[in-house]
Amino acid sequence: MQTALRLAITITLANCCFGYCKADVTDSPRLSSVTRVLAGGREACLINPPTKPTETGLTILAPLLASLGSKAAEIGYDALSNYISETIKAQESSLTVAVKSAYFYRLKKGAEGKWGAEPALDCIVIARGRPGPIDVLGLRLFAQRMDPRSRFSKVDEKGERSFPILQTLGFSDFPDLYLEFAFERDPLDTVFRLQPRVIYYKQPSVKAAADGKLDLNLTVTISQPGLSTPSAVLPFRLAGVQAGADVPIDGVSIDNPWAPMLPPPDEKFANNERAKLFSSLPSTPSNVSITLEETGSASRYLVFLSRFLNASKSDINNSATELLNQLADKLVAKEAK
């Protein structure tokens, strides 16, 4: 059964890659919108990049949670398969799917010629907007209202606004959606999770609930080419987001469990003749699959989340799992009525 679900996911990815699997659209659909996804180092956070960590290259060690990570990611991926196949059929949700490639680690040669590994995946940006050249004069008229915190505009010394981030994204207008996340890691670099840096949600893709709020459910799946199972699944949920320009992060409920880091490369790579030519090189190439659901119904994602956390029980998230299980049961029962 899981194989069939994975097949369904593959077909879905093929059909919806870099776009929407749209259900119930808003009154003013913007079908010409495109979704851009950036994944990489700090520079990928276009608006609010995290500060440079002071971490130095780590000695290459076997990861503490390697075995758990592998099992959790595989079961988590099956749970994700279920969740996606159900979400695609749902009328009240819009699902965006994208795949990007990135490097998970960077190897650096120290002063004494000893190699160390540093995490290299620092940021993910998901932006949806209308592609095209910028109408600077038009945007300036609306900048105060649409971009009150000057996320996308830059004011020069003469007081004139320019829009470099929109140019980078190739958008002609302020985006309908712009989510910027940084990866946060524990001090030992054994687990990581997503932390939001910017939530800009101007125009939903689905009709909001009566209170005007929606959930944004994100999953980031990291797979290494050639491996049959994903290496990490990172769920993330923003609950009850009120659409409208810039959303204060403090006012949103966030669920962002940890996931184990990918195993770093072992020391044998240093024997590679080509590696000897470099002082620093990217390592652990990874495919980053992203799903983003906009929905007024929380239950499916919470069921997925609880299954995922059940699969990766550890001291870190035992209590969170229990709470989520209870919440998911409650919501499913409520929706069934």
């Binding site: 520079e43 040669k109 290299a120 140019q167 980078t168 030519l277 002082s279 620093s280």
Partner: protein
């Protein structure tokens, strides 16, 4: 240090004045037409500088077109007047990545004194990996069989991704001890500006000729050194760019090839009758679709043009430091 200064006289290269271009060896209009045809006959990957340089079979398959381009668009080093060659040969050189059995030509560079060599910063990157400068060798035109070894990068960039380089930052100063070859040139041979009205000179190696001939490093590689004398090899202006940025960007249509990045851009001072280095050749004008690159390269996308930068002040300051 500058005890026996000698000016660099451009005797056989390309010079034009503001009102009346003068052909000091500049190619004829007929030859320019042949060059245009040879260029248009090149496979598109070569024309747009998107060739996969690791695909040497493809390069060898295109050898006839590449040789025609070489014949009609590029001039041999020997076409420069002897005095010019004499002046430039101790300045201009090239970087090689030499490892067991291979000798990859990577980029051009130029000495600013007996301690430092300048090249493009992106020349120290390959597929997102940073090349260990100690693995490179620098070979001068004047003594091609000698490999000088860089020991460090004097201005390291704190980045993990070469896509983050701005055009302005795309230069690297490598510490390369070359005292064995004295370099006695005046400090005003290094300038922060290049004129818009005069022909430029960008010496480089024809990488394809170097490969097709399977040249060796004992001096044979010198036969692949080329210069451009095309009529389009001067600095152009664009109005659609911030003027402060434009002042630092050098746009030209000189005939350049891969592995010429980091080459000095020479100009000619008519008053003092000397050549000077006023810029660094960086890249072809097309940028591709990567949003980070498009955001960071402030000189922008200039189809059909090359992009370089005027010589950074940091380089000129280092050039003035004692060489020993």
């Amino acid at each position: 240090m500058w005890s026996s200064m000698t000016s660099l006289f451009l005797m056989g290269a390309t010079v034009a004045t503001e009102h009346a271009p003068t052909d000091f060896g500049v190619v004829s209009p007929e030859r320019q037409q042949s060059c245009l045809k040879a260029f248009s006959d090149l496979p598109i990957a070569f024309r747009e500088s998107i060739i996969d340089l690791t695909d040497k079979e493809e390069i060898l398959r295109s050898a006839p077109q590449l040789q025609a381009y070489d014949e009609f668009c590029l001039e041999r080093w020997e076409s420069l007047r002897p005095k010019t060659r004499e002046s430039l040969k101790d300045i201009v050189g090239f970087f090689f990545l030499e490892q067991s059995g291979s000798r990859e030509l990577t980029c051009a560079g130029f000495r600013i004194n007996e301690r430092y060599v300048v090249t493009a910063a992106h020349c120290l990157w390959w597929r997102g990996a940073q090349i260990d400068p100690k693995r490179l060798t620098f070979r001068l035109l004047s003594i091609p069989e000698v490999a000088f070894e860089p020991t460090a990068v004097e201005n390291p960039r704190d980045i993990d991704d070469d896509r983050l380089l701005t055009d302005r930052e795309d230069f690297a100063v490598l510490r390369v001890e070359t005292h064995a070859i004295p370099l006695n040139i005046p400090i005003n041979s290094f300038r922060e500006q290049l004129p818009f009205t005069d022909y430029l000179l960008i010496p480089g190696v024809n990488l394809y000729d170097y490969w097709i001939r399977n040249a060796n490093l004992s001096g044979d590689w010198l036969k692949s050194v080329r210069v451009n004398k095309g009529r389009s090899c001067f600095r152009h202006q664009f109005d659609d760019i911030d003027q402060a940025v434009a002042a630092r960007c050098v746009f030209d249509i000189c005939q350049t090839l891969e592995a010429m990045s980091g080459s000095a851009i020479f100009g000619y001072d008519h008053v003092r009758q000397m050549v000077f280095i006023g810029g660094i050749h960086l890249r072809a004008g097309l940028l591709g679709n990567d949003p980070i690159i498009r955001q960071r390269r402030e000189c922008g996308e200039r189809e059909s043009f090359n992009v370089g930068i005027t010589l950074p002040k940091e380089v000129i300051d280092l050039a003035a430091q004692p060489g020993k």
